[in-house]
């Protein structure tokens, strides 16, 4: 079975631009979560979606938004990019307890 997939793998943007990251969960998983991992730190929780509804939100500004589609895939959108948004963005899918992570999208903001 395919694991969690994310696209794109790498992305370079400039300050002020907008970015959309995509995630496809493991088949049968209805929950998708997004995390931001800055270099040298642990992942920070951004959002969790279950059955297309937001179930949790971390301490991130409103520039960050997400949604989940009927097929349980998800998109993370970040508006008005700042240099500090440069990070590895991880998506995880889960069915119960265990979260399985994708390879991440490396976002660089110049």
């Amino acid at each position: 079975d395919a694991g969690v997939t994310q696209s794109p793998t790498h992305l370079i943007k400039t300050r002020g631009q907008q970015v959309t990251l995509r995630c496809s969960p493991i088949s049968g998983h209805k929950s998708v979560s997004w995390y931001q991992q800055v270099l040298g730190q642990g992942p920070q929780f951004i959002f969790q979606y279950y059955e297309k509804e937001e179930r949790g939100r971390g301490n991130f500004p409103d520039r960050f938004s997400a949604r989940q589609f009927p097929n349980y895939s998800s998109e993370l959108n970040v508006n008005a990019l700042l240099l500090g948004d440069s990070a590895l963005y991880l998506c995880a899918s889960s069915t119960y307890n265990e979260q399985f992570f994708g390879p991440g999208t490396r976002l660089t903001v110049l």
């Binding site: 992942p43 920070q44 929780f45 279950y50 889960s94 979260q99 399985f100 992570f101 991440g104």
Partner: protein, 112 residues
């Protein structure tokens, strides 16, 4: 602030030795999970231990949980160079991944 705090921040050992990493947390949890990350890539799930469990094994991994001390440890026995990675503990407060909080991680280097 993060819930979990791993200790030590970095650990360097020789191949064949055992590696022990500790994780402390602050509030009540439903479960605690350990992950491995190689070179800034995706996280690999290693083991989950529930709050009513005290010890779990998986291959060369042994995880303990002491809810009275709010701490967990990950033991990797007979380490290999391929075990070189960052190890994170993450705590969950429910059964569905909500409020899942990671610590800053332990960087393990296994020298050949």
């Amino acid at each position: 602030s993060q819930q979990g705090e791993e200790d030590p921040q970095a650990l360097s050992i020789q191949e064949g030795e055992n590696a022990t990493m500790n994780c402390s947390y602050k509030t009540s949890i439903n479960n605690l999970q350990w992950y491995r990350q190689n070179s800034g890539r995706g996280l690999v799930h290693l083991i989950l231990i529930r709050s009513n469990e005290r010890e779990k094994h998986s291959g060369r991994l042994r995880v303990t949980l002491d809810t009275s001390k709010k701490s967990s440890s990950l033991l990797i026995t007979a380490s290999r160079a391929a075990d070189t990675a960052s190890y994170f503990c993450a705590t969950g407060t429910d059964n569905y991944g909500q409020n899942f909080v990671f610590g800053p991680g332990t960087r393990l280097s296994v020298l050949p």
